[in-house]
């Protein structure tokens, strides 16, 4: 812990966190992976940005429509005394909350990178987390589904990427504030996945995924097996059409010794039908394996032991694998969310007064958030696993559904042991493998769809923070910078890239066909 710092991109919310270098613009009737956007042309977008800038109309993407608009709205500078603001028009579209002003950017603001999909003061609707109504000194939280009936003086909006927006409707025509607020409450919290903007986005498909491997095809897994030189494992087609497990990919790498029918039989005993699957291996044969817990209704561990025995046989020396129970040893998604809320309070202070109040106790407040503890314990666990693999032991990561901490630890272990993943392309491939293909529930964890029993939890941010810590300790080991990590997290809140939109490959597959 003493070694760890807070990722400063998150230290203060300057309101300008969205520093993107994204050129990804095209989409298909199917969805577009976030990864691999580098060499795309963005001229058309920039041109349209300039044209619409003077008109106070939001710049719209293909398929985007304006739902409500409020004129003469004041936008306050983030973490300010909220006395002065920029004047402009605020609108809600089916994609974003957009503020357009004719006022010039300050010198400070113009030094920052811009997002090509969003204007300087825009946020994607799926990024919006909490909406408050300003009532003089106090503020009242507004819940999705509620309608505001009275006058709305102003809004205070907290985003999932810690951006804070504060608006005042003091100078707006009567009723504008209310209309806008109700539209926002309705559209920012869709109750069905099909209501997300990605389904309305109309852009021709543009394939620019050069070297990033998506781990969708047989080929992808075969190549990975070959690259790692891991013997004792084979490819199984048992999950074709997601018949075995909806949250696993269609191709699975399983112990050589096990037959498909045995695997199918065993899967029924595991949560989410997720028996042990291979995700990576070292040259000398030690493998990294992920699996779910047995169903709570199952009391004897025979099926699990049979599977583990097969894992053992896949080791060239028949070494006993090391089983790490991640749900016991690491924080749960709920713990992570609680910690994140505390951290956000610290990183996104409401105003300048709160900023300086917190400043007096910043370190103990940071400590109480436990965020760095979580980051540190994930790294420690990954080191433990990596050390076992270096001793040529196979490591089996086990956790509830095997889709949260398993993603974090499995990717960290590989980053620690295999330089392949530390390049830009390698890192994207790793995310594609451990998070996308092996079914991290992005939609649930990022709360893309509103439910009353939210299971929101920024597990992915914990992972990115761990990588940031590694970059601090090994500044020359990574091809990418912290800006890239920030961009990834911000992009996870943009409802266009299919990478971070779905709970599993099956959902992604269905949506695109």
């Amino acid at each position: 812990m003493a070694y760890f710092d807070l990722w400063p991109g998150r230290k203060i919310n300057s309101g300008r966190t969205s520093s993107y270098e994204m050129n990804e613009t095209k989409m298909s009737n199917s969805f577009k992976s976030y990864v691999g956007f580098e060499d795309h042309d963005s001229k058309s977008l920039n041109a349209s940005a300039e044209e619409s800038f003077t008109e106070l109309n939001p710049r719209l993407l293909p398929g985007e429509v304006v739902i409500a608009e409020a004129q003469n709205v004041l936008l306050f500078a983030p973490v300010s005394e909220q006395k002065q603001g920029k004047s402009g028009n605020l609108s809600v579209t089916n994609f974003k909350l957009s503020f357009v002003t004719t006022e010039e950017r300050t010198k400070e603001e113009s030094g920052h990178q811009l997002n090509l999909l969003l204007g300087e003061y825009d946020v994607c609707l799926s990024n919006i987390d909490v909406v408050y109504q300003n009532m003089g000194e106090k503020k009242r939280r507004l819940f999705p589904g509620n309608n505001v009936s009275g006058k709305v003086k102003g809004l205070h909006i907290l985003c999932k990427n810690m951006k804070v927006l504060s608006f005042s409707f003091k100078f707006s025509p009567v009723g504008h504030g209310k209309t806008l607020t109700n539209a926002l409450l309705h559209h920012a919290f869709p109750r069905r996945h099909e209501l997300i903007f990605a389904y309305d986005y109309r852009e021709p498909y543009y394939n620019c995924q050069r070297d990033v491997c998506l781990f969708k095809a047989l080929d992808d897994w075969e190549r990975e097996l070959l690259r790692t030189g891991c013997e004792g494992w084979r490819l199984s087609a048992i999950n074709q059409g997601f018949q075995l497990s909806p949250s696993l990919p269609q191709w699975l790498v399983v112990p050589q010794a096990i037959l498909d029918w045995q695997l199918g039989d065993a899967a029924r005993y595991f949560r989410g039908y997720r028996p042990p699957v291979w995700c990576w291996g070292s040259q000398h044969g030690a493998a990294l394996v992920r699996m779910a817990d047995l169903l709570p209704t199952i009391s004897d561990r025979v099926k699990e032991n049979v599977m583990l025995e097969n894992v053992r046989k896949s080791h060239p020396l028949r070494k006993q694998p090391l089983l790490l129970d991640l749900s016991k040893e690491l924080p749960s998604p709920r713990d992570v969310m609680i910690s994140y809320n505390k951290l956000r309070e610290l990183c996104a202070p409401e105003n300048l007064r709160q900023f300086w109040l917190q400043d007096n106790h910043f370190f103990s407040l940071l400590e109480t958030s436990r965020w760095l503890n979580i980051v540190s314990s994930c790294l420690c666990k990954a080191i433990e696993a990596a050390e076992a693999i270096q001793r040529e032991e196979t490591v089996v990561l086990q956790e509830g559904d095997g889709r949260d901490m398993c993603c974090i630890i499995a990717s960290l272990v590989q980053i620690l042991l295999d330089p392949h993943w530390r390049s830009l392309c390698g890192f994207q491939t790793l995310i594609q493998k451990e998070w996308v293909a092996l079914g991290h529930p992005f939609s649930t964890r990022l709360a893309h769809v509103f439910t009353s029993e939210s299971e929101q939890s920024p597990e992915f941010l914990i992972f990115l923070d761990c990588i940031w810590q590694l970059i601090q300790q090994f500044p020359a080991a990574f091809e990418f910078s912290e800006t890239y990590l920030t961009t990834l997290w911000d992009s996870a809140q943009i409802s266009i890239f299919d990478t971070f939109l779905f709970d599993c490959e099956r959902d992604r597959h269905i949506a695109s066909t």
């Binding site: 812990m1 007096n360 370190f363």
Partner: protein, 579 residues
Amino acid sequence: TNVSEPGPPSRPDDPPLLPGEKVQGVAREVTYLCPYSGPARGVLSVTNYKLHFRSMDRDTPYVVDVPLGVVSRIEKVGGQSSRGENSYGIEVFCKDMRNLRFAHKQENHSRRNVFEKLQQYAFPLSHKLPLFAFEYTEIFQDNGWTVHEPIAELKRMGVPNDMWKISKINENYEICDSYPTILAVPAQATDDDLRAVAAFRSRGRIPVLSWIHPESQATITRCSQPLVGVSGKRSREDERYIQLIMDANAQSHKMFIMDSCSSANAIANKAKGGGYESEDAYQNAELVFLDIHNIHVMRESLRKLKELCFPNIEESRWLSGVESTYWLKHIKCILAGAVRIVDKVENHKTSVLVHCSDGWDRTAQLTALAMLMLDPYYRTIKGFEVLIEKEWLSFGHKFQQRIGHGDDHHSDADRSPVFLQFIDCVYQITTQFPNAFEFNDHFLITILDHLYSCRFGTFLFNSDRERAAEGVKQKTVSLWSFINSHLDVYRNPLYWAPPTYQQVLVPIASVRHITLWKGHYCRWNPSMRPQDPIYQRTRELLVLKEQLERQVEECRREQQSRAARNMATPPRLASPIHS
């Protein structure tokens, strides 16, 4: 490239010796109790400069090498009756955030001799011995004593000019014995004025020029507290003199007096004959209190920090532990004070006068930091050396008292990490502006190491007067001679020299931006060290940078010569009509 005088022939067991260094005592079969890697057995040597331990029981010898100047206290641990392994020996408490423990064998009586030698050479002044700097004879190419030429430095800032003159009134330290001989004062002030002002300022430390803005002529001046006392005494001359400083800046009809302590402390100072300027007496001057704590609070804060960082770090309560030392809060407060000065001078074109009680501790921190933020010259290696020579050494920061060189009164209430805090603040600014400084943090750490080491004369004694009387420049080597003779290891490869980079730096004085300087405070703990070979990369980057700069220069020259060749026959005579 160092030319060294040949020393006495060395024996095989001897540690590596500096010119002028001699072995004074050796103990064999001593165990160094390393808090991180466990006990190591070997030979402990004491010289007139350092303590040197070399292990004999490990494949790669473990070496501990500590200049004795760093030692603040030495204690015997255990007696003849002590049982238990390693319970009998010596504990050495250091000024640089670490303690060392050695275990001796009772039977071979090696402890007594080593303990005595350590006492003598760690505290030479208490034993009527010279400080090592006076015995050190290494010769360097560069002469660091010429780095700061006061008149040249004033000239660099355009002084003398219409409003400011150079005064030699203190040539014999008559006005003030803790000031330098050369002072820059308002041009209008007569010698009689200066004498009268000196009578009204604590220890004669009159307001003098530290820095002048090249465009607006707004100034930073420094002094000690006025001798107001409980009765609220006034001095017409002092008031008029402050008015002269204000008038020397045509851009503003106002001036700020920044008192670095809290108003409560300033009021308390009245009881001791001091105090602060009342705004009634000093018209158009606005008094601001910066609320920086005194030397005793700072010493206590560092003590707590040492407890936290050495030897072992308690992981689970690390952050709240750092907070509870208040060290970073003090750093923030000092930085915030300097930022206020910069804001007044740069943005409001208003002159600022800075003082605390005596004007040699907090005042030096504030003026030096403000100057570092305002003037890119001080961010170069040479400029930073000038800044230390000028604001700290020549204006009489009491290094001898605050550090306690060669003195065994380890609990002396005059000791305080004032200069360390300044360097920490500099470190904080470098982290916020990584491209603005010519030097890297190894440079800062080297300065701190030799702040204590007593190898160089630079930080010895309390004032220019004392240093002149002791012949420091003639008899000792300057730290800057050493540093300037291998500049490459101190260079920051990411440095952007002005005018490419912004002139004025305004760091954010928030704890969110201030970090504990682990590379310094936690450096003895191997698990806290950076894992990357940063120094190696720094060197590689510097070589690369040099190569690229050379290429640019070549291209430029080639282009010029091509342009010259392509020009039509130039006119033989320059004519005013053509120009």
